[in-house]
């Protein structure tokens, strides 16, 4: 095949459009733009049951996402679930009597940690611990209890 400069231009255009496609996927389609690790600090909370909470699940306060879950582990001594959260550094005024609860977004949506700020003047620092927690509501358990209760009442 004879070589022409038009060919070079077309190859250049092709490669450029391919790279643009990749950039489009990276920036517009995926979460790469929020992928850049912002400054954050870690806090932990212990739950009796963390339900279907996953790593990367959002942590929100008043409905706004302020961080994400970074690790979930089981404490073999206290039989609790230890949830580590990365909170964006700009939200550094979370009181130390904050309540952490695990909620579900919608009926079937994913689970997230909700922080309900308390009234204390002392703020949580790096590696701080949230003492007051509320476990995830396990739907099967709730339905089971409800059925059991209504059967009791009928007797």
């Amino acid at each position: 095949m004879q070589h022409t400069s038009t060919q070079d231009t077309l190859v250049g255009l092709f490669v450029a459009s391919g790279v643009v496609g990749l950039f489009f996927l990276a920036l517009q389609v995926s979460n790469l733009s929020s992928f850049v690790e912002e400054d954050s600090y870690t806090i932990t909370a212990r739950f009796e049951n963390s339900g279907g909470l996953k790593i990367k699940s959002p942590v929100s306060a008043a409905g706004v996402k302020i961080g994400k879950v970074s690790a979930i582990s089981f404490d073999p001594k206290t039989y609790e679930s230890v949830v580590q959260m990365n909170i964006n550094a700009q939200y550094n005024t979370i009181p130390d009597d904050t309540t952490a609860s695990i909620f579900t977004a919608g009926l079937l949506g994913e689970q997230y940690v909700n922080l309900e700020p308390g009234g204390s003047d002392v703020y949580l620092q790096k590696d701080g611990k949230i003492e007051i927690t509320q476990s995830a509501i396990i739907l099967e358990k709730a339905i089971g209890q409800f059925l059991f209760k209504s059967a009791e009442e009928k007797k």
Partner: protein, 260 residues
């Protein structure tokens, strides 16, 4: 019965011999990469015939696949009142599966068959042995640039396919069916992970590019140098590439997306 056993043994042996020849051929091809790099002209010409010529079919198919996904996804999701997640569905299926797989299948049909026919005909008209006579290694001069071109073009084409498909899904979804445009993009951005989805898709397409180019070039190089032999080799290229792409896709998917 004996004849059948003989046939079985013979065909097993031929297929293993062929695999062996193919592996040797691949090693030869890969070892030629260093001698191609100082001559980018060779590569550029092949990029043109392999990549640029496949550009149109890939983008148009991508657009239509995305539009169909948008339509079908909308009908199914709207039953559950979850039209807003249309973007996630379209993007995830394109980036993870359809983008790499369909563009590789199209690539095998468009570029792979052409490569086989070209090499096979070169062999039939004794151009390859002519080169050998002039002490030019035909593998380094002819095969390796085409192999590299396929390897480079495939991820680019797959990325284009996915990107155009996602835009196509958006045109249908929010343009025609009334899914909120903001929800389409933001739900997509929230669910599609760069590392887990996009990079894995790119890895898939690199693997497919590697395998398709290898099969196409080897079938051409190994073809019986008659017009019938070349036509058979071309058919084999398309069939074998399709098998390998779909089989490898299954393996890669289990490896990549198994954990979550």
């Amino acid at each position: 019965m004996i004849q059948f056993l003989q046939y079985l043994g013979k065909s097993t042996r031929t297929s293993f011999t062929k695999l062996g020849r193919g592996t040797y051929f691949l090693l030869q091809t890969v070892s030629g990469i260093l001698s191609v790099l100082p001559r980018p002209r060779l590569l550029l010409t092949q990029m043109y015939s392999v990549g640029v010529m496949s550009f149109l079919i890939i983008t148009i198919s991508g657009l239509f696949v995305g539009m169909v996904l948008g339509l079908q996804g909308y009908y199914t999701l709207s039953d559950f009142g979850a039209e807003e997640t249309l973007g996630v569905m379209v993007a995830a299926s394109l980036v993870r599966e359809l983008g790499p797989v369909v563009s590789a299948l199209l690539f095998a049909g468009r570029a792979g068959s052409a490569l086989t026919a070209e090499i096979g005909l070169m062999k039939a008209t004794e151009q390859l042995s002519g080169m050998e006579m002039m002490a030019v290694d035909p593998v380094k001069r002819i095969i390796t640039p085409r192999f590299l071109a396929g390897l480079i073009s495939m991820p680019l084409l797959a990325a284009l396919f996915s990107a155009v498909g996602i835009i196509g899904g958006q045109i249908i979804g929010s343009g025609l069916l009334g899914v909120d445009e903001g929800a389409y993009w933001s739900q997509m951005q929230a669910s599609i992970d760069f590392r887990d989805d996009i990079i894995n898709g790119v890895i898939k397409s690199i693997v497919f590019g590697f395998v398709t180019s290898w099969i196409a070039l080897f079938e051409g190089y190994d073809a019986i140098p008659t017009s019938e032999g070349v036509s058979r080799a071309t058919t084999r290229t398309v069939v074998n590439s399709a098998f390998s792409i779909l089989g490898l896709d299954f393996i890669l998917t289990t490896l990549m997306f198994g954990d979550d």
